[in-house]
Subunit: 467 residues, 4 copies
């Protein structure tokens, strides 16, 4: 998963971009990058491994001058934690340049790459996004936006793109609309971002969502927009609302906090916990859902798990901490609340089950009498090919265990998942138009012919760099 942010027409574009990336940091912590284009049309790039707060020194920021900026935060994926894979990509083409920041995953990247390679293209990263840059470079359209449209015809899968071609910013969202993208106004300039929280932080006013299939171009001639593709069914990612997006964002036109609240309420209806004395969240992503559960059920909401935010990305597991060390360092139970109680623990989802199991164990060790696990989404049973980094099916615990096995494995007294329908009914814009492949296994489009090749990158022979 990734976060993207772009500015057109503000003198401190790079500084605003940095600010925007701060609020999109939850969408990717592996690397961050900014490209700025100055009035003379010169593009400059700064990329670094790690957090936005670590990557951009004064010196780098000073060089990134100009009124156009695009930025990217990247999540770690299997096939290549390396500076070569940081975005934006900046490439020189036909006497100009293309900068590109991409959120999503292309489902036919391998095929597109082979086509390009057969024509002699060279690739310097293992990212699917690089094929789009090549295709733009080869496109013949008269305007930048036409070239982008031409390049995207034939590209399948999920993408929100912020592109700079010379001094034109091009914004594109795939016709199915898997990933969120909004546009806002800041003075005379324009701001584009994965989530509205990034508009808020720079003080921009939300205009609207970039529509699925829309292509927007902004340059000195102003902003123009058009539908880039034949209309297709909408498949918004339900997991953005369940877990990924920030609660202070509006995603797909609806408040994330509100939908999570509703998910929690629905969960309390479908999976009550009679006799339970308190409900608490696995902080922070499940806070809203746990509140909703409490509202609906009348079981008091408590802050029974405290999260330690000082751990940092460089956490080295102390040798003595044992099996659940990372969970224990990250979460601490409030013994006073839990002791002797029957409790409901609400989490937004369970992937591999390792964290859940560790949490149940520390909640019990803190004295809880009964632990009733409630999950504000359906069981995850299938990998995502549209941009969420879920593991292979074999590692998805709900795909490989029966309900009873799960109860035993997690060590809970009861386990309740929200139903697929219940989950969709909580979505702010109604239950239709969502992709729920990871919960239902029903992929709305063809999936990659060889998913592992797509996933693995270097393992499949694609050279991955070591920075």
């Amino acid at each position: 998963m990734c976060g993207i942010f772009g500015v057109y027409g503000h003198n401190d574009a790079a500084a605003l971009t940095q600010l925007g990336l701060y609020s999109l940091q939850h969408r990717g912590q592996e690397s961050a990058g900014i490209v700025a284009v100055d009035d003379g049309g010169h593009a400059r790039i700064s990329r670094a491994m790690g957090l936005v707060s670590e990557g951009f020194g004064d010196e780098a920021m000073k060089q990134l001058s100009g009124a156009i900026g695009v930025g990217h935060t990247r999540y770690s994926t299997a096939g290549g934690s390396a500076i070569e894979n940081a975005q934006p990509i900046l490439a020189r083409v036909r006497r100009g340049h293309i900068a590109l920041a991409h959120n999503g995953n292309l489902t036919n990247a391998v095929e597109l790459r082979r086509e390009l390679e057969d024509e002699g293209a060279i690739f310097v990263s293992t990212m699917d996004s690089e094929v789009i840059v090549h295709r733009i470079a080869r496109a013949q359209g008269a305007t930048p936006e036409l070239r982008v449209a031409e390049a995207l015809a034939g590209v399948e899968g999920a993408y929100c793109l912020l592109i700079v071609i010379d001094s034109t910013v091009i914004v594109a969202r795939d016709p199915h609309g898997w990933r969120p993208l909004v546009m806002g106004k800041l003075g005379d300039g324009w701001v584009f971002a994965s989530e509205t929280c990034a508009l808020d932080i720079v003080g921009a006013t939300l205009e609207r969502e970039v529509a699925p299939g829309e292509i927007i171009a902004v340059d000195s001639h102003g902003l123009r927009s058009g539908q880039g593709f034949a209309s297709k069914p909408i498949h918004r990612c339900v997991f953005e609302h369940v877990y990924f997006a920030r609660p202070d964002s509006k995603v797909f036109g609806g408040s994330v906090d509100k939908s999570r609240r509703e998910l929690g309420r629905q969960l309390a209806i479908e999976c009550p916990a009679p006799g339970a004395e308190l409900v608490f969240a696995v902080p922070d992503s499940s806070n809203s859902a746990a509140l909703g559960y409490s509202d609906q059920s009348g079981i008091p909401y408590e802050l029974a798990l405290i999260r330690n935010h000082y751990i940092g990305r460089t956490f080295i597991q102390p040798t003595q901490a044992g099996r659940d060390a990372k969970v224990k360092v990250k979460y601490n139970p409030v013994r006073e609340l839990l002791e002797g109680k029957s409790v409901v623990m609400v989490d937004d989802s369970i992937v591999r089950g390792t964290t859940t199991r560790g949490l149940v164990s520390i909640v019990r060790a803190a004295g809880a009498r009964e632990v009733h696990m409630r999950v504000s989404s359906a069981p995850i049973i299938s990998p995502c090919y549209y941009g969420i980094d879920t593991p292979r099916r074999e590692e998805l615990i709900a795909a490989t265990m029966t309900h009873d096995e799960l109860v035993r494995h997690l060590g809970v007294d009861s386990l309740g998942y929200l139903s697929l329908d219940g989950m969709l009914s909580a979505m702010p814009t109604g239950p239709s138009g969502y992709c729920h492949a990871c919960f239902s296994g029903r992929y709305p489009t063809a999936i990659p012919a060889d998913p592992e090749l797509l996933r693995a990158g270097s393992e499949a022979g694609i050279p991955a760099g070591i920075a």
Copy 2:
């Protein structure tokens, strides 16, 4: 403020200490250090600026072998952010060594230092703690604990100390008991920590508080304890419960989460907000109090402010973010919840007022109709000389403005502070035995003759290092 942690009698003392420091990180983020003593009586030290997660590489940890460990996390104070001021202090004396980790502030440090200097002592840091090491080195008692008792006689102010003299661990707490200190059992060994959350993380069982005035010694002859001083009135720091300690800790024998819940309830009774539609916390330290306010008042609790935990200590303020940049990057309002509403914002305390003012401004910008500020403690009007790093009186906003001025300055529709009595009544062990000097100005002991000299360190001519 600082956090201290110690282990006696566990083979991985340093690794446990590191783990303990992780959970005491909230008590100090400027520097961290560990001293370990091996079976041959050799002491080794590792100290670094910054977080625990940044400071101790594999190589350093491997060298810190032995069954005795003491660690320290330090908060940044005016007079010297420098590696020379990191703790523990490790000094060689009379064919042995003294390691010392201190939480608290000595009120007669300047006088004690002058005495020692007059006798030819040299100081290499600007820390008050260094005088204790000198006094122990000069003490003549037959046992390590007697020497510590001798050294502490005449030392005024707040201290919790973890000391290693050769292969004996000595634990001491000042007779007034300002700062918290607990002891726990881990297998055959002993663990000491500022807060119980650090016992939890290493799997130790809480034995009891170290009593005010108690001196404990542990070595190969076992554990022995005694009252080190004539009994004195107890002055536990109420601010530990209000703000400083972690909610999952038991401090001074009472649950911090519980007392904060109660502070919130009391606040709702004393300062209701009729007509308000929702209550929210300034996360995370005020979560419990806001929940309590909601409980008591019946006004729904919402997660209307989201905290961004990725900022890091190295945050560089982007130039365009303007006056409230740091607040804006750290907190984001949930517009959906706030828009058009009359809201209660609960915070645990207001010091300079800068953050509060910024928060009010972003909450209003997100559409809140009315902002009612409620503070779950009394106004802070006096500096602390016992270990909390409050600024000078001139910078304490509640000391320099009237209530009306405050309302205007903060930009709120109404402002309610908890009363001193209300605050004390919420303490788990009853209202007496607490120091509330910062709220009341009633210092329970003599304060430093020249507080600025104590505070300023290098500014007063004490050489401060640059690392």
Copy 3:
């Protein structure tokens, strides 16, 4: 200027490459990189800014497994000190990869790049070397070596190339032979390097020079070699012997130490210094020439200038050191030797004159009575377009001043340059077959249409990265 090193058929190819790069460090200190290919055909890359000794940690080296390795050390040039410009380049193409390390400069890179851009190629660095990778990727030949030959047809200028295509190492040297390249045998494997000193350090036996115009391929079928191009006149770079190569290397079939000795002797014949009492070198590159001058003239050789080797690349000029600070920190005169003496200072070349002027000043300050400057090469009057990073003509002091002006400007009592013929006659393989464009202005081939565009990189609009 750059250094290149490659190994085929030795299990520790990357470690040997690192060792080889240590001895080619004088050819480039800006960045270093290694690509290794393992038995399964997977290529891995590690690149870093700075010295070889700084760039490759244990972890990185461990990952670079395999029996094939190519490495590169890069010199800082105007258009882009950035990690994006570090070599080797590693690109994925048609189901395989191309790694490339290049020493030299292409004179028609801008044209070749435009051609490729017109066909839709994208570029991610500002290096001319990237065009070769593209051309190889587009070549259609049946074997890797045929594709390289096809790619190089039409490429003008200087190049020594170490290329890995999948599991085949291809070595190529331009038909004019500007830059040196040798091959050696190490057990059953092959080693290729810019200079013989790199063969020595890994214990390889020198086989022979790679011939101008030769293309060599090594893979599991063995080594095969062929002439890649129609025969052309040889233009070996005379400056390699004068200054660039290490004295312990054999370059173009001749010993560098020997040719420098001879340059010094010839200089003594052409520009004697009657009455001078001692001769000394500007260490270390002029040591051999100064010894030769002393041999021939009978004037005693002294170590009158001492070089400080601890300065490092990160030298920050102390504020008080004044105009000649860098020279003063780097060189110290031996006052005892210089005081009251008439001295001959031998240097291999003068570029901008700044260092020379500073040296003359400190030599005089140390008491020298007369300073006779002798230069063991002809005056540098023209920029190099074949790989040496000489500045623009305007900055070449000998191109802009008369002899008398130079004497005054440098502050010397006399100044003698070696003649062009004298210089060439000192070459080990006779005076013909050398490029002396920087000394004579007679370029043996067409020079770039727009040299500044080639030079400037980012300044001319080619995006240069900031790492």
Copy 4:
């Protein structure tokens, strides 16, 4: 070994000190530090592990304001490579401060330390120098210089000291004069340094040596000097001339280059090498001696070994480089010169023999027919207790092998050491007044009762820090 540098009365004292330390880097590369005292009497310190060029950023230098500066470069010794052991030491005492930089070794440090410890002193480093600071702090004299004299009475061994007490600079040299110390004039100010090369670099004029036993004080009342101790026999360290000092320095009143030239000439007389065809140095410390050998013997001087100066302190031995890896990376033979020749290799001294053995092996591998080793000093057979970090006797190869064994072990055809008398006769000020204990075993004073305790530091229980 260490280098010390001090300035009194120049507005950029710290910058000058940094410059001076650059030229004293050869005396110690482990750590570097600067203390500056401003006009208000405030002392500030900056210390860092590693080279001067790595340690002092712009920010640190800016803070080191004032007209008084003292600096130190430290050599790595057994008992503690740690920031705690970096100098200068800065201590606060009796309402003021003491800064101290020390070159030399105290022979009764352990006893003095025990005395102080018995009186309750605490030590934070493992350095003998720390005892002097304590003794000054306890001294009662009316003036700073009297207190220093009082402190030094009873201190045995080698020391050159630069001390700042408040705003007075005190300079002291032990009465035997083991280590060099000079004073110079810079404008109205004074400069003190271990070697004259450091005066040269800042543009100061050499005044004279600080005399053995002399104590100098400089402050706003001017400079005053006196003999601090009863006159004692002079024991200048002959090894400073043989190896340690820079050739461009004047040490003990004589030119180092000149004495090394003379050592080489004497070596040629005592140990001729009839039939040898060339003589070469192990660069750079033996260059002068090899030149002298060549002068005297008539055998031509060649540059047959080239030293690679890019290795850096962080050199990680590549795994494949084998036994002599470090030597091979550091030195490369010039095959063209050595092939088939009978050669004389001149080195200034042989300690453990490891480097020599490696060099002989690579010289032979480069084709030398006969290798005649000549050493421009006598065999080292005893450890130094006065400041040179020679290893224990067991590791000194000349102390444990017969001449024949040495010849075989080193792999040479012949081996010639200079005689003790020959060595002393080459000293510029005549053969008397020199300490030659390491060559003769005749210690001019009592040596430490327990040398290993002194040497080992942390191993003997003195706590050594880990930075």
